[in-house]
Structures are given as C-alpha cells and as structure tokens.
C-alpha cells in the first residue's frame, strides 16, 4: 500500500527526525502531540498537529485507542511509533493490523516474541546464537541447582524486564534463595509477571549491538554494530561505530548472529540485537532485541549512508528491502553524545525548564538531532534527552577530535546539561584508548568524585 500520510505518535527529537525523512519522501505528516507539546519543534515541522490529551504520557502518548482513533480521524495510512511510548507495545501493532492502518515496525507477534525475555532467549538458542549460561527457574530449588552449575556471581533477571530493569546481582550462592523471592516479588509488581531466570554475571562486559533491517519475509541485512558501553545505570550516554578493538572475525561473527536471530523470526522493519561481549572470555552472548528504531541509530546512518527511517517506511509500504548486504559499505567512524537536561553536580538529576538559549554545533561531519531551540520548554513529564550530537570522520581519532570541537561549540542556557561532562569523558585517556566496558563510567564517576573531594578540602 502506498503510504501518503503518516501519523507520528511520538515527541521530541525522534518525532522531528521522522518528520524530516517523511517530508524528504513527499509524505504528509500529522503529529499526535500532548497538550504540553503543542508548540514544540515537531509540531512546527509537521503539516498538521492533533492534540491527543494532557501532558502526562499515561493520558496521551500511551493511549493505544486514542492514537489509533487519531490516525483514523486524520485518515493517516500509517503510524510511526518512534522509540519508547507505544513502539514496543504489541497492543498498538495489533489494533493497527485489525483496523488496516500500517504500523511502521514489526508485527505484533514479533514484538511479543522478543518482548518476553525468556522467549527471546529460547529463540536465540534455536537460531544457534550464543546466550549466557543460565535459564528459567521456577523455584528456589531449581535456582540453587542451576546456580551451582553456572557458579557465582549470578544475575537474576525478570522475564518482563529489559533495558537494565528488573535485574539483581547475587555474589554468593547462599544469598540466592532470598534474592530469588525478592526478585520475583519485584518483577510481579513492576511488570505484572513474576517469572525470573538466571544468567551468569559477566564481570567485564561490553555492550555491542547490531542494527538490522528485515523485509518480513525472511531476508535480513545488517548495518554493522554499535558500541554502547558508556552507560550510567543502564542509560547509554555515548555510542560509537565501529566497536573499537574488535577483530574482523569477531565482528563478522556477531553480525552473523544478529542476522541469524532475526531471519528466523522473519523480522520486519528496523531492529537491534543487543549482545554482551565478555571481555575476559573473548565471547559474546545474546542480551535482548529492541523491536524499534533506537536513539543511537544516527551513528549507523553516518557510516553506511542508509536512512533507516526511510527504509522502515519503504518496508512498511510494501517496497521490500531495498538493500543487499554486499551494497552496504561502512565508512569511517561515528560517535554520538546524548545531551540531556540533567545536572551532573546533583547526581544527574533532571533539570526541566525553559531553554533561554541553545546554540548547537555544525560544520563538516557534524549532525545534531534535536527539538530544542532558544525558548523551547522541557516539560517535566518526559525524558530529559535534549539533543544528540553525532560526528563522523575517517577514523576514531579524527571523530574524537571533531566531537571535542562540537561539544566546545555547544551552548545551552536556562537548564543544566551534561555537555561539560561529555567533554570530561572525551578527555579521559581510558575512553580515548577505546573499548571500555560497561563498568567504565561508574569507575570514572567514582574517580571524579574522589578528585573533587580532595580539591574541595584544598
């Protein structure tokens, strides 16, 4: 079906980003915005904006029926869900299927298959993709048997969790029974699903993920990997591609694993398969799959030249997968810094408010995806992502240099941001060397705190 009008069921930078590609393709856009976002940048860019409800996401962006009604009411052919909100709720994909509105993303069944972490793990095993030693445990006895077999330290993970939520680390086997009970209770409260599973805890791990595009008929291409190991409490802060220091062979194996996993699902649209790279064992394990476009997709776009949103729309519109694997070339290195409205001096506490002035960097090899302009408001109801600064250069050293300059050019007034903090990380020799593990940023913060305390004592 030809897609002529798309309802964008999201806000912020991703809404603006999707609208831009739609307009480049000559597709009309209607933004479904909450009351708090009626004067946002995406609302200014879209051909039309409809107000779907009050500011609070539960009353607007998370209402499946309202989003679908809005799409039908404005006669949109398709819905682009962006990331977060309803993007990975099978309910929206399913009602779209029922009402004949194209959902720009995977099928409801595919979202379900990867949303259940235990099922996704089983799918990975069936596809011959390595998973961390572990498995489902129904009671404490089973947990003890499996725990002894894997050996501590262990991770208890909630089946309904993901993205770092619903995990518990256990260092000693004798602590396992109590931790199991607590994890199950917490999972029940948080996800409405008490099921948990056990996995080996990887002491030094890197977060490496592979971007794929699937046509929904079993053909999949990958667009290379991204390293997202610089994280604070499972929130990614800096992402880059290629992942530094991996051998060509290792890289090829991890790409192949992602393709195998998604081919087996006949996955449709853009998706990301996340892996944990075990630094000490030189292996990798399947972590989870994100069945949507991701925040950090621009680094992949920078090195491949593929507009991932345009491909999502093409696949959704029945044009199929327009890329062959051999035609995808990755050139140079790209790095992304997420600029958040948060205060590093106050434990990264969110800092909503009105942006008095915003000057974003520009120049060769610099891309800024943002919805923040001078005078824009950052409402307290949503996440604190203000902008993504993406740089692209011939190699990592040049990309780092370009990012340093871009950060130095950035000026935001009126709200606290992490811009200066990014500059600190980029000046750190360990990060500069490349290939840090997910424990890097907590260690960096610890070191920084110690230095600040010493200098405060004078």
């Amino acid at each position: 079906m030809a897609i002529r009008r798309i309802l964008i069921a999201n806000r912020g930078e991703i809404a603006a980003r999707v609208i831009r590609t739609c307009h480049a393709l000559g597709i009309e856009t209607v933004l479904a915005a909450s009351y708090a976002d009626l004067d946002s940048l995406p609302a200014r860019l879209a051909h039309r904006t409809v107000c779907i409800g009050p500011a609070h996401p539960a009353d607007s962006y998370l209402k499946v029926e309202t989003i679908l009604q809005a799409a039908l009411g404005v006669k949109a052919d398709a819905i682009h869900p962006g990331y977060g909100f309803l993007s990975e709720r099978p309910a929206l994909a399913r009602v779209c299927e029922q009402e004949g509105v194209v959902f720009i993303g995977p099928t409801a069944a595919q979202i379900e298959a990867v949303g259940d972490k235990l099922r996704a793990r089983a799918e990975a095993e069936a596809a011959g993709v390595p998973t961390a030693p572990g498995g489902a445990v129904e009671n404490v006895n089973e947990a003890m048997v499996l725990g002894r077999e894997i050996g501590p330290p262990l991770l208890i993970k909630a089946v309904g969790g993901g993205g770092g939520r619903g995990m518990k680390r256990v260092d000693r086997l004798e602590d396992l029974p109590a931790a199991m009970d607590m994890a199950a209770a917490e999972a029940g409260a948080a996800f409405g699903d008490t099921r948990v599973y056990l996995e080996r805890f990887v002491a030094r791990g890197r977060h490496v993920e592979v971007q794929i595009l699937g046509d929904g008929k079993g053909r999949v291409v990958h667009l290379g990997e991204r390293d997202c190991s610089v994280q604070r409490r499972y929130q990614k802060l800096i992402e880059e591609t290629p992942a530094p220091g991996l051998s060509a062979d290792f890289r090829a194996r991890i790409h192949k694993a992602a393709v195998q996993f998604t081919e087996r699902l006949s996955y449709r649209s853009a998706g990301t398969v996340e892996f944990l790279v075990d630094v000490d064992r030189h292996g990798f394990y399947f972590l989870e799959m994100n069945a949507r476009i991701q925040v950090e997709h621009p680094v992949t776009e920078a090195v491949t030249g593929v507009d991932i949103v345009a491909e999502q729309i093409a696949i959704a519109g029945g044009k199929g997968l327009r890329w062959k694997q051999k035609d995808i070339r990755r050139k140079g290195c790209a790095i992304e810094c997420r600029i958040n409205a948060e205060d590093p001096a106050r434990d990264f506490h969110p800092s909503p408010g009105t942006v008095q002035a915003a000057d974003w960097p520009s120049g060769e090899g610099v891309r800024v995806d943002t919805h923040i302009f001078s005078g824009a408001r950052i409402p307290p109801y949503y996440d604190s992502l203000m902008a993504k600064i993406i740089v692209h250069a011939a190699d990592r050293r040049a990309a780092l240099e370009r990012m340093r300059r871009a950060l130095a050019e950035t000026r935001v007034e009126g709200v606290k941001t992490n811009v200066a903090f990014h500059s600190e990380v980029l000046a750190d020799p360990e990060f500069e060397k490349g290939g840090v593990d997910t424990g890097y940023l907590p260690r960096f913060l610890e070191k920084r705190r110690a230095v600040q305390e010493v200098s405060a004592r004078g």
Partner: protein, 157 residues
Amino acid sequence: MSLTAKDVAEIMRLLESSSFDSLSLEMNGVKLHLQRGSAAPARTSAVPATAPQSESEAPPNAVNSAVKKTKPASEPGLADVASSLLGTFYRAPKPGEPPFVEVGANVEENTVIGIIEVMKLMNSVRAGVKGVVAEILAENGELVEYGEILMRVRPGA
C-alpha cells in the same frame, strides 16, 4: 506548621522568578497547586478565558485546537465547553435521532451535550456549566481534539 497567606504569596513570588510554569506542593495534608497566568502553549485562543472552569476532566479552557483556528466568540462572557478527549464527536445519541442540544437549549452542569467515540467506546460529554447554548462549533461525525472547543454556553441561572 501550616501554610499562611504570606507563605503562599512568597511561594508564588518564587515560582514567578523561576523558569517553571507550575508548582505542586503537598505538606501536612495541604495541597497547593500553582500555575503561571497562561500555562497554555503559545497557540492559545484569542478569546479571553473568562469562562468558569468546568469541574473535573475538561482541560483548561484557554486551550485551543492545535490545528483548527477556533473562531472567536460571538459575544463576551461565553463559557467554552472543551473536549476532554480526542475522538469522533456526535451530536445525537444515534444516527437519525435529534441532537442532544441545539442553540438556545437550556443546559445544566450535568446535561449531556454530545458523545465522543474513541475506538467504539462512547464517552458522554457534559456541559459542565449551567446556562444557554449560544454556539455549536464541533461538527457531527468529525474528529475533535483534546481541548478543542465544542460549544459555547451563555452562563446563567
């Protein structure tokens, strides 16, 4: 300790000088919610918000439709009846039946003036104000947005 009028005035001053638009405070069983003069986005109605606020679910009456430029009220002092949902607006209980209200009809706060359908779920819309229907803006069978003005009522006893 409880909040005195002086405290509230001080808090209002703090909000005024801050970069925030609203403040909610809860202490010792007292709830205080402050909002700047116009918390609505720039695209607000040209009509002064003089109307009494309908009690509960209706959004602030200064909100305008995000797209449709609502025409100004034909006379001053009219109360807006705004939509609290995005959905399809129906003026009558069933197709072919007479509308719930016409211009000139007397309404009470609880009078049903229309229905908003959201994916086959029918939601009654109440006037929220006592008076006489002065204008009907929303079209039967059309999409209405959250905050869109459906009707205007001349408040009265």
